[in-house]
Amino acid sequence: MKPIRTRTGRAVAAAVVAGSLALTGCSSDSGKDTKDNSKSKEDAAAQSKPVVYGDAKASQGPAEEVAGAKSGGTMNVFMQSDLTHMDPGQIYVSDAGQFSNLIHRGLTNFQEDDKGNLTVVGDIATDSGKSSDGGKTWTYTLKDGIKDEDGNEITSADVRHSIERLYSKVIFDGPTFVQTWLSGAKYREALPDGPYKGKHLPDSVLETPDDKTVVFHFKAPQPDLPQALSMAGYSIVPEKQDTKEKYDKAPKSLGPYKITDYKPGKSMTLVKNDQWDAKTDAVRHQYVDGYNFSSTIDQASQTKRLIADQGEAKNSIQFTDSVDPAQMSTVISNPATKKRTIQGYQVYVWQLSFNLDKMKDKKVRDAITYAIPNQSMVQADGGRYGGEVAGGLMAPTLPGFDPTYDPFGKLKKPNGDLEKAKELIKEAGVKEGTKLTYAYSNTPRGQAQMVIIKDTLGKLGFDVQAKEIDRATFYEQVGKLDNPYDLYMTGWGQDWPSPSTVITPVYDGNQVADGSSNYSHINDKQVNDLIAKALTEQPEAAAKTWEEAHHRIVEEINPAAPVYYSKQIQLFGSNVGGARFSTDSSYIDINDLFLKQP
């Protein structure tokens, strides 16, 4: 998953400016229910069960009917800004991922039951994949009757084309897992022009024996392949329909809906795709007749319209934006409105990363970790429903999450333990007034949190220099190896529910490089070995190794002070049925929506 930047990145365009410039309308301020009963820890437990690989039967369509679902009517979708990409190869960001559920289909997909348990099932493949040769070879056979919106049958050649086009220069933004697993870090050199010049990957890497089967050959075992293939980035682009750069604006649909009218930056309309066959799809439904996307409604207006629930708003949903934090109390304190919300944990963990090249003394790092007032940092990001105090660095959505793990006593003292911190500072012998440079992203939230950190570190006797960095390139500046800053707030989220997509990129010593996600430049031999070992084990076995690595990182090295887990809360119109929180996308589950009165 992209770093937290996805929220700030996407918000860059109009939303943030609008968010804080556009005022919310005024509505009666009903009694203030200050008690917060946001999602507590046991909901997280549901979200963090290990993923099950489904067999052929589980992958059979049609998807289980949603209770009381009716078909017909058009669903309105509110968005703050336009989708960054529609070409599946370029899709990495979660909002485009949510969109691709409606339009694109891949080899595999996540199926979710009411309690949020995820099973990987075959989407256009008959099952979640047969692994052999110790997990180095994976074979997929295609279902029959899979067509694109123009009626062309999908064959293994299309699957091969979808993978090979990711090597070309046309694609620069999507995920790179399968490509690096197949052809190593410099995968583009294996097929510089992609499939467009008639050249293909050798059969020893990607093999299509007949029209219905595709075989992947990896150098090392890849237990997570089925989960990776369920990512939007690996959806199918039929060879005949591939218009290269233009595809990003006019993709061909395999899923239940297709695009009829698209005005970039303004609106988009989807209608039913008659070529989609419900019997071949174990996950999606086709209840509503179509979707109207409007991508100019900022977060504050979305919330106001959905609270007011007047006119069109009754049939509207939030897509990837959450409830405006400023109006949280209006939403929560009014029971009728509260019923129309879905809540759950996002995959992001906010942490205060220390630059280990400059902050070498562990005592100082521990002191700061103790001192940080996690609770007010959460309040600066919209109060309890925006986030929750974090004990460790692993998100509640990861399998093997232990809610009680809290080495720095954050749950007992959510607003920090100043005395203990001062003792540690005295022990470390830090002179009064030593300079610390704190870099922060120049957004309203970044500024609010900077004030808190400056206040706290000031109390510890530090002379804090706050450096604001333009929101668009915060991660790029902080990602530099030789950055001049001592500490900075960063957030990271998993790509699929496995610690491998969190601990490896952020805490693996040999990933430390310019522009890498290892922002604290942690390079501990014991941690690196644990990571290497876990990567080869099956998910259940790997869980314990990841746990051990996590504990060592947090307690012995403490490269980053855990601050809070981010949470998601979205509103939908009163006439929308089947709305529930999807643990896969951590947004509203787009596959089960229908209108009560179409």
Binding site: M1, K2, P3, G9, V12, A13, A14, V17, A18, L21, A22, L23, T24, G25, C26, S27, S28, S81, D82, T84, Y92, V93, K169, F172, D173, G174, P175, T176, K186, R188, K244, E245, K246, D248, K249, K263, P264, G265, K266, T296, I297, D298, S301, K304, R305, I307, A308, Q310, G311, E312, D470, A472, T473, Y475, E476, G479, D514, G515, S517
Partner: protein, 325 residues
């Protein structure tokens, strides 16, 4: 007159070119560039290079500049297709031809401007004239007082209050939205009623006060008294002689407001979620989208320069003593 026009048009073209050049090189003084912003999680230097190459950012700056400027005159070819004559390049963020997205959003900005201008001219100048006509009476005090109070409000203070009352809590009206006038003129007017009203309350004050003060000044002029001495009706004298004298400062402000509105009423568009040129401008500068910034900026500059020429011509028409230098 013609000679004046030609000289000014040449001047305008030169200024457009200078503005374009200045923006282009100003863009490269900003430390960040779009490639860094666009590249996703795996922001490996290699990926950035691919993005740069796709967007043509790897060519030397001057080459890019000439290619861009050439595109305006003779069109350019892109992998996404040919971009005809007034081609302002391909927007990095939306992958859309800049000219198309501008033309697509311009009707909204035009409607906001046209509607807003009509309202605040009619109300603004109207109330200003009434205040001047009945100067010293209660009406005068009331009108100038009201215009004074209204002008101290700001759009993003007044906008949401109006929205809250008329849309969210009472539901009388729907959220302001843009319906093309060609499709449904009534819908067009109703959709933009609130933004017009809010814009009008704030802009009118300036016109009321300017009209009132200049008219009062003109009414004490000698030649106005001569006109009355000729037995002309008071209303005739008021509108023919006194009004003519105070037109010049008023025409100047109209020119400035019009050009500001035509390059996008940023705050109004944000307050009411209307996707006009204003948002495009802010979005382009925030996301470091070079072609979009250049396109929106040149489009705005075009209006400012043309309107300035028109206003200068108007001076000579209004006051024969003003020679066209």
């Amino acid at each position: 007159m013609l000679q004046f026009l030609i000289r000014r048009l040449i001047g305008a073209v030169v200024i457009m070119f200078l503005i374009g050049a200045f923006t282009f090189f100003l863009f490269y003084t900003i430390p960040q560039d779009f490639a860094q912003l666009a590249c996703g999680k795996n922001c490996t230097p290699e990926n950035i290079a691919v993005i740069r190459e796709n967007l043509g950012l790897d060519k030397p700056i001057t080459a890019q500049f000439w290619e861009f400027m050439g595109g305006i005159v003779s069109g350019r070819d892109f992998p996404q297709g040919h971009c005809s004559a007034p081609c302002l390049g391909l927007s990095f963020s939306s992958g859309e031809f800049v000219w198309d997205s501008i033309i697509d959003r311009f009707p909204l900005t035009l409607s906001l401007t046209a509607g807003g201008l009509v309202i605040f001219l009619v109300i603004g100048l109207g109330s200003g004239l009434i205040a001047a006509w009945k100067r010293g009476t209660m009406v005068d005090k009331l009108v100038s007082g009201a215009s004074m109070v209204l002008s101290s409000f700001q759009i993003y203070f007044l906008g949401p209050i109006v929205l809250g009352i008329f849309v969210y809590s009472s539901g009388w009206m729907d959220n302001p939205k843009y319906v093309p006038i060609t499709e449904n003129p009534v819908g067009w007017a109703v959709g933009l009623l609130i933004p017009w009203a809010v814009m009008a309350t704030i802009f009118t004050a300036q016109y009321t006060r300017m009209a009132r003060s200049t008219m009062i000044e003109q009414l004490s002029e000698e030649h106005v008294r001569t006109a009355r001495a000729k037995g002309m009706r008071q209303r005739y004298v008021f509108f023919r002689y006194a009004w003519r004298g105070s037109l010049i400062p008023i025409v100047t402000i109209i020119g400035m407001d019009l050009s500001a509105l035509l390059s996008g009423a940023v705050v109004t568009e944000f307050t009411f979620d209307l996707p006009g040129l204003g948002r495009l401008a802010v979005q382009s500068s925030l996301t470091k989208d070079l072609p979009l910034t250049m396109g929106v900026m040149l489009f705005g500059a075009f209006f400012i320069l043309i309107l300035n020429i028109i206003v200068d011509l108007a001076y000579a028409l209004i006051d024969p003593r003003v020679r066209l230098s």
